[in-house]
C-alpha cells in the first residue's frame, strides 16, 4: 500500500467509519466539513441510522417519546455509503481492509473506530434469556422495555444503581410502577460520585418510593414454567417477586472484532494518543487508524496523563470531531483531545451534572447550597487541587468549577461564594468505595514473564 498525500486523500481518498452512532456520525460530518470529497463508508451493526441513547432511559421509558423518534439531528449532509445492519468482523491493518459479516471487505486510507460499548449482560446466560429480563443500551432495548412498562408490571427489579439503573428506577416511579433497586455498593451512584453524594441519591430514591436495597447482590433469577421471570434471589437470603428485571451492570467495550488484528484493543477499550490515533499491541501509535467515543481510552494531560475511558455523550462528540480533524491534517496541525469530562443525568426530578473526574477525588466540600435541600455544588479535591465537581439542580455554576479544574486551582476551595452554608466550609472524605474491592467491573490480570508467554487474563464481573 503506498502512502497517499494529504491532498490526494482529501480529494479522492477512502475513509471508513465503523460504528454508525453518535461518534461515527459527528466524525463523518466533520470529515465533510473539512472538505473531504472522497468516498466515505459508514458501517454499523444496528439496522438504524444514528440515534441518540440518553433519551432511552429518560423520555422513552416515561412514554414521552418513542424509541423510534430518537434519530440524531443531522448537522449537514454527509453523502456516505451506508452499510447498516452489517457488523465489522475483522481488520487487516497491513492491507488496510475492514472485513464485514457478509463477507465483504472494505478498503480504507483512514479508518475511524467508534464501536462504543454494549450493556454487560446478566452473567448467567440462561437466566438472562428469561422473558422479562432486559438490558438497556439500544433502541430496540428501549422500545421493548417501554412496552413492558406500558403493560403495567407488578414489580420491576433494577440490578445496579449507577446512572442508567437509577434513571430507570426514576422512570418506573414516575409511572407509578413498583420498583426495587439492588446495588452491591453502599449507595446509588457511589462509584461515580462517592458515598457523600451517594447518600443523597439514596435518600432521593427512597423518598420517591423506590425499594432500595444496598450492600446486596442478586445471586439468581428464577423463571416460571413458561419461561417468564418471576423472582430474584438476593445474597441476604431474601427472595423478591418481580415480573421485570433490568440488568444495569455497566458496559463492555465492543472490541472483540479486532482480536488478532494487531491493534491495541481489549476489554478496556482501544488505547489511543491524545490525538485519537490508535495504538497497536506493541504500544506504537498507528498513522491511519483513529478512535473516538465510548470505545476509546485516551491519556489526559490534565489528569496526570491517565488513560480515561469515558462513557459520556459530550466526550463522544468532541473526540469524534478531533479525530476527524486530525485524520485530515498534517502532523503539525493536529489537535489533542483535551476535553474536560462532563456528564449529565436526570432522575427523580433532579438535574445532575458533573465535570472533571470526581472519582479521582479523595475529598469533597459542598461549596454552594446544601445536601439537605438537594440543591448544591460539590467540589472534589485530589492532592490539594480541584479535580471534579458535581451539581444537583445547580448546573449554572458548573462552568466556574470547570475553570477551577482546568487551572488546577487549590483545594479546599479557599474563597467565600454566594450560597456557601456553614457546613460547606470544611472538606470531608468523598467516600469512594475501596478500589481493591471489586464492584461490578471486570478484573484484568497479567501473568508470565517473557514477551512470548506474557498473558492477560480477563475475569468478568465478580460472580
Amino acid at each position: 500500500m503506498h502512502e497517499v498525500t494529504l491532498d490526494h486523500l482529501k480529494r479522492e481518498g477512502r475513509i471508513v467509519v465503523v460504528g454508525a452512532s453518535l461518534a461515527g456520525l459527528r466524525a463523518a460530518e466533520t470529515i465533510r466539513d473539512k472538505g473531504f470529497t472522497g468516498s466515505l463508508t459508514m458501517i454499523g451493526d444496528e439496522p438504524y441510522e444514528p440515534y441518540d441513547r440518553p433519551p432511552l432511559s429518560k423520555g422513552v421509558l416515561l412514554g414521552k417519546s418513542t424509541a423510534e423518534r430518537t434519530a440524531l439531528p443531522r448537522r449537514r449532509a454527509i453523502d456516505a455509503e451506508w452499510r447498516l445492519g452489517t457488523a465489522a468482523t475483522g481488520l487487516d491493518m497491513a492491507a488496510r481492509r475492514v472485513r464485514l459479516a457478509d463477507g465483504d471487505e472494505v478498503p480504507y486510507d483512514r479508518l475511524l473506530i467508534a464501536t462504543g460499548v454494549r450493556a454487560r449482560p446478566w452473567p448467567n446466560a440462561a437466566e438472562g434469556e428469561l422473558d422479562g429480563v432486559f438490558v438497556l443500551r439500544t433502541r430496540d432495548d428501549g422500545a421493548a422495555l417501554a412496552r413492558r412498562l406500558d403493560a403495567g408490571p407488578r414489580r420491576v427489579l433494577v440490578i445496579g444503581a449507577g446512572f442508567t439503573g437509577s434513571e430507570i428506577a426514576s422512570a418506573c416511579r414516575e409511572r407509578g410502577v413498583q420498583v426495587t433497586v439492588a446495588e452491591r455498593g453502599d449507595a446509588p451512584l457511589v462509584g461515580a460520585l462517592g458515598g457523600v453524594i451517594g447518600a443523597v441519591a439514596a435518600e432521593l430514591q427512597r423518598e420517591n418510593g423506590v425499594d432500595l436495597r444496598t450492600g446486596v447482590m442478586v445471586t439468581a433469577l428464577e423463571g416460571d414454567s413458561t419461561g417468564r421471570v418471576r423472582a430474584a434471589h438476593l445474597s441476604d437470603g431474601t427472595t423478591l417477586e418481580c415480573d421485570v428485571v433490568v440488568v444495569s451492570l455497566g458496559a463492555q467495550r465492543n472490541t472483540e472484532w479486532l482480536a488478532g488484528s494487531g491493534l491495541g484493543a481489549g476489554p478496556r477499550g482501544i488505547a489511543c494518543d491524545a490525538g485519537c490515533r490508535a495504538f497497536d499491541i506493541r504500544g506504537i501509535v498507528t498513522d491511519d487508524i483513529y478512535v473516538a467515543g465510548d470505545v476509546a481510552r485516551s491519556p489526559h494531560p490534565l489528569f496526570g496523563y491517565q488513560f480515561l475511558s469515558l462513557e459520556h455523550w459530550g466526550n463522544a462528540v468532541s473526540q469524534a470531531e478531533t479525530a476527524a480533524h486530525n485524520m485530515l491534517s498534517v502532523s503539525t496541525d493536529r489537535r489533542p483531545h483535551i476535553w474536560v469530562p462532563a456528564f449529565w443525568s436526570s432522575q427523580f426530578g433532579v438535574n445532575i451534572k458533573s465535570v472533571g473526574v470526581p472519582s479521582m477525588g479523595s475529598e469533597i466540600m459542598i461549596a454552594q447550597g446544601s445536601l439537605a435541600e438537594r440543591r448544591f455544588t460539590g467540589v472534589y479535591g485530589y492532592q490539594g487541587r480541584v479535580i471534579g465537581a458535581v451539581t444537583f439542580d445547580n448546573a449554572r455554576w458548573l462552568q466556574f468549577y470547570q475553570q477551577q479544574i482546568e487551572t488546577t486551582a487549590p483545594f479546599p476551595v479557599p474563597f467565600p461564594t454566594v450560597d456557601r452554608r456553614p457546613d460547606g466550609h470544611r472538606p470531608v472524605p468523598a467516600d469512594f468505595p475501596d478500589p481493591s474491592v471489586p464492584t461490578h467491573g471486570p478484573t484484568i490480570t497479567l501473568s508470565g514473564y517473557s514477551p512470548a508467554d506474557r498473558r492477560m487474563t480477563f475475569t468478568p464481573a465478580g460472580h
Binding site: 440543591r375 449554572r396 466556574f400
Partner: protein, 412 residues
C-alpha cells in the same frame, strides 16, 4: 464622579452610538480609573464572571466606598424589599423558582407559547391603529403599549385597570431614565408615589386573587405551593413589580432597536417580509448587535478576585458591559456587522448564569412577532430621522422615539 471614558459612556451625547467607546474600553478588559467601578468589557471575562460564585448581586455586599455613578438608582426601589434580581442564592433561587412555576417548564411549559394568539391580536390591533402612515412614532404607538398590555394580561391585571396601570408604569420607567433637565427631587417624589400606589394596587389585586384565583400568574404566585414554598406578601409585591418593569422596559427597546436596525438594513427587512422563519435567528443576532440591556451595574465580589491580571478588591462596584462583550472580535467574527445568518451567536444580550433574563422566552416571542408583523404590513417603511432621539438611560438603552413613514399600512 468618574472622568474620561466612563463619563463618556454615561454622556447622553454618545447614546446613539456607544460602540466606538466600547471598542476603546476593550483595550483594557478590566478598566478602573482609581475611584469608580471596575468595568469589564470583553466577552470571555464577562461570561466567566456571570458564572462566578464569588460575585454577589446583592447591594448589601457593596463597600460604602465603591463609588458607582449608577448606584443611586438602586435606592429608588427601597419602598419594596429587593427583588430576586438583586438577591443571591439561596433567596434568589427560592423566589425565582417560585416565580417560574406559573411561567415556564417544567410546571407550566405552555404558558408562553399559549400567549401566541393574544400577542398576535395585540400586535394586529396596534398596527391597525397606527393612523397616518406619513408620521408614525413606533415607540409611542407600538413598541411601548405592546409589552405593557401583555404584562397586564400575564399578571392578570383587569382590562379596565390598564389605563391606571399604564400611568404608573410610565412614571416608573421614566425614573429609570433620568432626565438631566428635570428637577430630581420632584422626579423622586413622583416615582415614590407611583411605586406606593402601584404597590397598594397590586396588594389589593393579590388579596382579590387569593379569594378568587384565576389562570394568571399573580393568582398562582399568591396561591403558593406548600409551606416552605410560598411568598410573603412583600416578596410577592417586589416580584410583581420586577416582572412589570423588567417585563416591558427591555422589550420596548428590543423591538425599537430591532426596527431601527432593520430600517438601516433594508435587505434584511425585505428578507424578513418574505421569510418569516428568519425571525428567530434575526432576534438572536439583534440581542447580540443591539442588546436592550447594555450593561449590568450590580455585581460585587465577596473576596478579592483576579480578572484578566487585575485584582478587584472585595466590595468593589463592577460593571459588566454586555453590549461590548457582544462585539468583541475575539469572540465574534466581524462583530460590527449585523448578520442574521450568523451561526455561532452565543451572545450575552440576555445575560448568563443564574440571573440570566427570566422573561427571555416571552421577550423573544414578542420581538419575533412584532418585527415579522411590522415587516409584513408596513409598505416601504423608512426612517424620518437617523439617529433617532435616544432615552437618557445608558443601561436600558433605546430610542425614545422612532419616527418613521411608510407608503401604506397593509391590512392584516
Amino acid at each position: 464622579m468618574t472622568h474620561g471614558i466612563l463619563s463618556d459612556i454615561l454622556d447622553y451625547a454618545n447614546r446613539a452610538n456607544p460602540y466606538p467607546l466600547y471598542e476603546e474600553l476593550r483595550r483594557t478588559p478590566v478598566f478602573h480609573d482609581g475611584s469608580g467601578p471596575y468595568v469589564i468589557s470583553t466577552y470571555y471575562e464577562i461570561q466567566g464572571l456571570l458564572h462566578d460564585p464569588r460575585l454577589s448581586s446583592d447591594a448589601r455586599n457593596l463597600a460604602a466606598t465603591a463609588g458607582d455613578p449608577l448606584a443611586g438608582e438602586a435606592e429608588e426601589e427601597a419602598a419594596l424589599p429587593p427583588s430576586f434580581l438583586k438577591l443571591d442564592p439561596p433567596e434568589h433561587d427560592r423566589l425565582r423558582r417560585m416565580t417560574n412555576r406559573p411561567f415556564g417548564p417544567p410546571h407550566s411549559p405552555r404558558r408562553v407559547d399559549g400567549m401566541r394568539d393574544d400577542l398576535r391580536a395585540i400586535v394586529t390591533g396596534l398596527i391597525d391603529n397606527l393612523g397616518d402612515p406619513g408620521r408614525i412614532d413606533l415607540v409611542d404607538q407600538f413598541a411601548y403599549p405592546f409589552p405593557v398590555t401583555m404584562i397586564c394580561r400575564l399578571l392578570g391585571v383587569p382590562r379596565e385597570d390598564e389605563p391606571r396601570f399604564h400611568v404608573w408604569a410610565d412614571t416608573l420607567a421614566a425614573s429609570l431614565d433620568p432626565d438631566p433637565d428635570a428637577d430630581p427631587a420632584e422626579r423622586q417624589r413622583k416615582t415614590h408615589d407611583s411605586r406606593m400606589e402601584l404597590g397598594m394596587y397590586l396588594a389589593g389585586l393579590i388579596e382579590e386573587r387569593r379569594k378568587h384565583p384565576g389562570d394568571d400568574m399573580l393568582s398562582q404566585l399568591a396561591a403558593g405551593h406548600g409551606q416552605d414554598e410560598s411568598m410573603s406578601t412583600m416578596e410577592l409585591l417586589s416580584t410583581a413589580a420586577l416582572l412589570l418593569i423588567a417585563g416591558h422596559e427591555t422589550t420596548v427597546n428590543l423591538i425599537t432597536n430591532g426596527m431601527l436596525t432593520l430600517l438601516r438594513n433594508p435587505d434584511v427587512l425585505e428578507r424578513l417580509r418574505r421569510e418569516p422563519e428568519l425571525a428567530a435567528p434575526l432576534v438572536e443576532e439583534l440581542l447580540r448587535f443591539e442588546p436592550p440591556v447594555q450593561l449590568l451595574p450590580q455585581r460585587t465580589p465577596l473576596v478579592d478576585i483576579e480578572v484578566g491580571g487585575v485584582t478587584i478588591p472585595k466590595g468593589s462596584s463592577m460593571w459588566l458591559i454586555l453590549a461590548s462583550g457582544n462585539r468583541d472580535p475575539k469572540r465574534f467574527e466581524n462583530p460590527d456587522r449585523f448578520d442574521p445568518d450568523r451561526r455561532d451567536v452565543q451572545h450575552l444580550g440576555l445575560g448568563s448564569g443564574i440571573h440570566s433574563c427570566f422573561g427571555a422566552p416571552l421577550a423573544r416571542l414578542e420581538a419575533q412577532l412584532a418585527l415579522t408583523e411590522l415587516a409584513r404590513r408596513l409598505h416601504n417603511p423608512r426612517l424620518l430621522e437617523d439617529p433617532p432621539p435616544y432615552r437618557q438611560n445608558a443601561v436600558l438603552r433605546g430610542p425614545r422615539h422612532l419616527r418613521i413613514a411608510c407608503d401604506e399600512v397593509r391590512s392584516a
